[in-house]
Amino acid sequence: MLYTNLKHIESADEHAKILSENENVMVICGRMGPMCIPVYGIAEEIEDEYKNVKFCDMEFDNPESRVIRNLPEVSGFMGIPFTIYYKNGKVVKATSSIQTKAQVTSILDKEFSATVKA
C-alpha cells in the first residue's frame, strides 16, 4: 500500500478512466522506498500549483500496474519509480528512479505548457 496523499490508481480500468477524463496526467509507479518517496513528496507539494495536471500513484507490485510496466517507453528502465507523463492519453515523457523538483517541474512546464498553470 502506498501511504501518500496522491490519488491512488488501483486497477488498469481505473488507469484508463483517469487518462480518458484528464488531459494531463502524471503517474508515479513505485514502492514506499528511498527512491520513490521523494518523487511522491514533490508531486504532493506541487499538486495545488499545477491544477491542470492530475497527479496519481500506482503500486509497482500491483499486477494491474502492468499498464505501466509494459509500456515501450520503460523497457530499459532499471530503477523505480517509473514516472509517466500522459497528454491526451499518450505518453509524452517517462523517467526512471529518483528525480528532483526541478526535473519534475521542467517536464511539466515543457510537456503540459499548452494549459495555463494555476
Binding site: M32, I37, I42, S96
Partner: protein, 311 residues
C-alpha cells in the same frame, strides 16, 4: 527589513531535528520558518518501518514525517520545502537567507539541521545511468537485476549486507572496494567471502560508467598497479556511506574534518545566534530519536537566547 518575511528563528532542514525544533519554537510563540531543500522528513522518510520510536509501536518514516509536519504547522510554523537556498548570511544580529523563490527572509536566530545524504561516487556517467543500471537501493531495484551480473561498490556494513541480499536476484555480484580490508562486521564479511556468487576486487575504484541506453561496463582502476580496465556489468549498486549536507555552510560555521557542525551541549555553534541539530552535527549516534532530542535542545536554547536578548 520586510516584517512579513522576518522571523524570530529560521530552521534550515526539515528532518526530525528541524521539525522538532519547529514544533517547540512555534509552540513557544517564536515566529519560525523551516526551509528545506528536499521533501519534508529528511532521511526519516526513507525508513520503511520505525519500530523503536518510543510511544509509537510501528510506523513508516513517511507517516511519522507527515505527523511531525502537521504538528509544526498546527502550532503556526511556516514550512517551505523543495526549495533551494541561493545565499545565506549568518554573521551579525540579523541573519538572512535568499531562496530560489526570489524572496529574502531574515531572522534573529538560525537552527542548522540540514541532515545527511548517501554519498555518490561523482565519476563520469554516474548521473547518466541512474535508474538505468546504477542504483543506491537494493530493496528498491534488486529485482531488475535477476540473473544479471552486477557490481556493488563499498566496504562498510551496508555494502556487504546489500551485496549478500542482491545474490537473491543477481547471478554474480562483484564487490569493488578502494581498500584492502572491509569495515563491515566480521560475520557479514565471512558470509560474503563464503558466498559462491560473490567475488571481490580490492584496492580498486570505479573511474567511469559506460553504456548506450543502459549501463554496460565500468572502468575500474587498480590502485596498486594504477592500471585501468574495462569491466562488463549489467548493474552497479553504490553504498559508500553518508555525508553531512554542510557544503553550503563550509565557510560560515565551525565544522570538523568530516564536515560535521561542531556544537556545544546546548547545540550552539561558534556563531552567535546560530544553533545546529540532527545528523549534520558532530556526534556518534544518528537516530530519529537523537535528532528529535537535538532539535528540542536547540529550540529551547534559541527561545532562551531570544528571551535574554529581548529583555
Amino acid at each position: 527589513m520586510n516584517a512579513k518575511n522576518h522571523y524570530d528563528a529560521i530552521v534550515i532542514g526539515a528532518g526530525p531535528a528541524g521539525l522538532s525544533a519547529g514544533i517547540y519554537l512555534s509552540r513557544a510563540r517564536v515566529k519560525t520558518l523551516i526551509v528545506n531543500e528536499g521533501t519534508v522528513g529528511g532521511q526519516m522518510i526513507l525508513t520503511h518501518e520505525i519500530a523503536n520510536y518510543p510511544g509509537v509501536e510501528n510506523i513508516s518514516g513517511y507517516q511519522l514525517s507527515n505527523i511531525m509536519k502537521k504538528q509544526a504547522k498546527t502550532f503556526g510554523c511556516d514550512i517551505k520545502s523543495n526549495i533551494e537556498i541561493e545565499s545565506l548570511d549568518l554573521v551579525g544580529k540579523t541573519k538572512s537567507i535568499v531562496l530560489s523563490d526570489g524572496n529574502t527572509y531574515t531572522s534573529e536566530t538560525v537552527v542548522l539541521s540540514p541532515g545527511g545524504r548517501s554519498r555518490t561516487l561523482g565519476v563520469m556517467g554516474e548521473d547518466d545511468f541512474k535508474g538505468k543500471g546504477i542504483s543506491y537501493c537494493a530493496t528498491c531495484d534488486g529485482d531488475f537485476f535477476t540473473d544479471k551480473e552486477i557490481i556493488v561498490v563499498g566496504g562498510g556494513n551496508t555494502a556487504i549486507e546489500e551485496a549478500i541480499s542482491l545474490t537473491r536476484y543477481a547471478s554474480k555480484v562483484t564487490i569493488v572496494h578502494h581498500s584492502d580490508y572491509f569495515k563491515a562486521t566480521d560475520y557479514a564479511i565471512k558470509e560474503a567471502r563464503n558466498h559462491p556468487k560473490i567475488n571481490f576486487l580490492m584496492d580498486s575504484v570505479i573511474t567511469a560508467f559506460n553504456g548506450h541506453e543502459n549501463l554496460e561496463s565500468v572502468e575500474i582502476k587498480d590502485l596498486k598497479t594504477n592500471e585501468t580496465n574495462l569491466f562488463k556489468t549489467d548493474g552497479a549498486f553504490v553504498f559508500i556511506g553518508y555525508m553531512s549536507n554542510t557544503e553550503f555552510i563550509s565557510n560560515k560555521v565551525g565544522l570538523n574534518k568530516w564536515g560535521e557542525i561542531i556544537v556545544e551541549s546546548d547545540m550552539s555553534t561558534n556563531i552567535e545566534g546560530v544553533y545546529a541539530a540532527g545528523d549534520s552535527i558532530a556526534k556518534r549516534f544518528r537516530q530519529v530519536t537523537t535528532a528529535v532530542a537535538d532539535g528540542t535542545i536547540a529550540a529551547l536554547a534559541v527561545a532562551e537566547y531570544l528571551h535574554e536578548k529581548n529583555n
